[in-house]
Amino acid sequence: MSASPLLDLWEASASQPFQPTIGKNTQFTVGFVLLFTALVFSGLFGLNNSLKNVAIYGLPASLAFGFGAVYMICAVGVYV
């Protein structure tokens, strides 16, 4: 019998340490690529503001900028 059930839970999960898809070493690369993509796509979207281009350039640019910003912030040491 252990003193605390939480500690038992910790020991039982020994084989499953937390492992995210993007590790600390790749955060900068991922962040940079996404931000660069966002820059290019928003530039292309700016050249031709049509409804069709919202789906082709606008949406991917927004998504890339959102995730890219999070990873870039993490990469520079502000872990959010």
Binding site: S13, P17, F18, I22, K24, G77, Y79
Partner: protein
């Protein structure tokens, strides 16, 4: 909706802060309360360890149930005001360390009563006429006072510790002894007691190197007090943390566990008689004599910690060193100025660590995680550090429930 939630969170935090201050688990009893005399102490040995900057007392006592019925509630008395400064209390069965399940609880009588008690509930009730050996250990904060209160910058510091030669007890004690463990043999004052009190007919205290013994004494009634005090050399800082705030932020996206500690330190050592002399201080840096000033601190961090920083209100403090390798991670820092008696220092330190050392996914569940992080780390000093109040906050990722 969103605002409501924030308000709710604010309220929850407020009520937590309140419960910390008032300790709701106290039983309030009338001032006429006397612990029922169900036990007697057959033999009691108390050890007072004064080698650190806070006294640690260990009471090893053989208790006997003198009541007809099995009893399980043992009371440990403290003088008014002392109980609030007890930093920790450990109760063990001396003969059987595997016997766990002791429960200690503060019982408050009334705010003006002379004595307060810890109620210790034994895991199993002790049958009538049976004996059990308890080991009670507790630390008291802010219990040591320097005498004289003012010393020169390079003088030795002497500490006075008043206590009772009879161990505090709510029960009749048949035989008892108090042993002191002092940090050095330089003891200018120790109250002597006449030999009539002693069971062996010797005058107290009995000295042997750095340990002093009061007793043995024969039967002493409950609550008996024999004031004595000892004054000994202790040229070390009495570091007192009035507040330690600690944040542990978990970042799943960043794969990082960030720890930040904000310390408010005071040195309770003897204050300086004259002005601080920088020349004397600079000279003493070469031969490094023992001093009552707090000059450096060493933080042993979790192995694998990175990016340590040490800042205070002014900004970064460059007199720190972070040594990190596969086996250890040590943050060694010197405060912006040496902390002499009565001086304060507020600073913050922080570091990062890989999340895989602290968070694991719980087996058999989808998105449940378990976090294991130190409650507090803080500096590890030879002479010890005491904390009055520690607030540890765990900041979970956005969306965690």
């Amino acid at each position: 909706m969103r605002l409501d939630r924030w308000a709710l969170m604010g309220l929850i935090q407020l009520s937590w802060a309140d419960s910390n201050l008032t300790e709701r688990s106290r039983d309030i009893l009338p001032s006429t309360f006397k612990p029922p005399q169900h036990f007697r102490n057959v033999n009691l040995v108390r050890k007072i360890n004064l080698e650190k900057s806070y006294p640690r007392e260990t009471i090893n006592v053989v208790i006997e149930n003198i009541d007809a019925a099995p009893q399980s509630e043992y009371y440990l008395p403290f003088e008014q005001g002392t109980l609030g400064r007890v930093g920790g209390l450990v109760v063990k069965d001396k003969k059987d360390p595997d016997n766990i399940g002791f429960h200690a609880e503060i019982v408050e009588i009334d705010p003006y009563g002379a004595t307060e008690y810890y109620k210790i509930t034994l895991p199993t009730a002790l049958p009538s006429k049976q004996q059990q050996t308890l080991s009670l250990t507790y630390w008291t904060l802010a219990a040591l006072s320097p005498v004289p209160f003012q010393i020169g910058q390079q003088d030795k510091q002497y500490i006075r510790y008043p206590f009772s030669a009879y161990a505090p007890s709510a029960y009749t004690t048949l035989k008892q002894k108090t042993k002191l463990k002092l940090p050095s043999t330089d003891v200018p004052d120790a109250t002597s007691l006449p030999k009539e009190l002693n069971a062996d007919g010797k005058a107290d205290p009995e000295k042997q190197g750095t340990s002093y013994t009061y007793g043995p004494y024969n039967e002493v009634p409950a609550g008996a007090v024999q004031e004595v005090s000892v004054r000994y050399e202790f040229t070390h800082p009495l570091t007192h943390g009035s507040l330690l705030e600690r944040d542990i932020s978990v970042s799943h996206w960043g794969n990082n566990l960030a720890t930040e500690e904000r310390h408010w330190l005071t040195n309770r050592a003897a204050v300086l008689k004259n002005h601080f002399s920088r020349v004397t201080y600079a000279q003493s840096a070469y031969y490094n004599p023992p001093t009552s000033a707090l000059k450096e601190m060493r933080f042993p961090l979790t192995v694998g910690s990175v990016d340590a920083y040490f800042v205070d209100d002014i900004g970064n403090v460059s007199t720190s060193r972070f040594r990190s390798n596969l086996r250890e991670a040590n943050l060694e820092l010197r405060p912006r100025y040496p902390l002499f008696g009565g001086w304060n220092y507020k600073f913050q330190v922080g570091w990062n660590g890989d999340l895989k050392n602290f968070v694991r996914r719980v087996k058999g569940t989808g998105e449940t995680y378990v976090l294991k992080a130190p409650f507090f780390e803080g500096p590890k000093q030879i002479e010890g550090v005491e904390y009055e109040r520690i607030v540890t906050r765990v900041i979970l990722p956005e969306g965690a429930t």
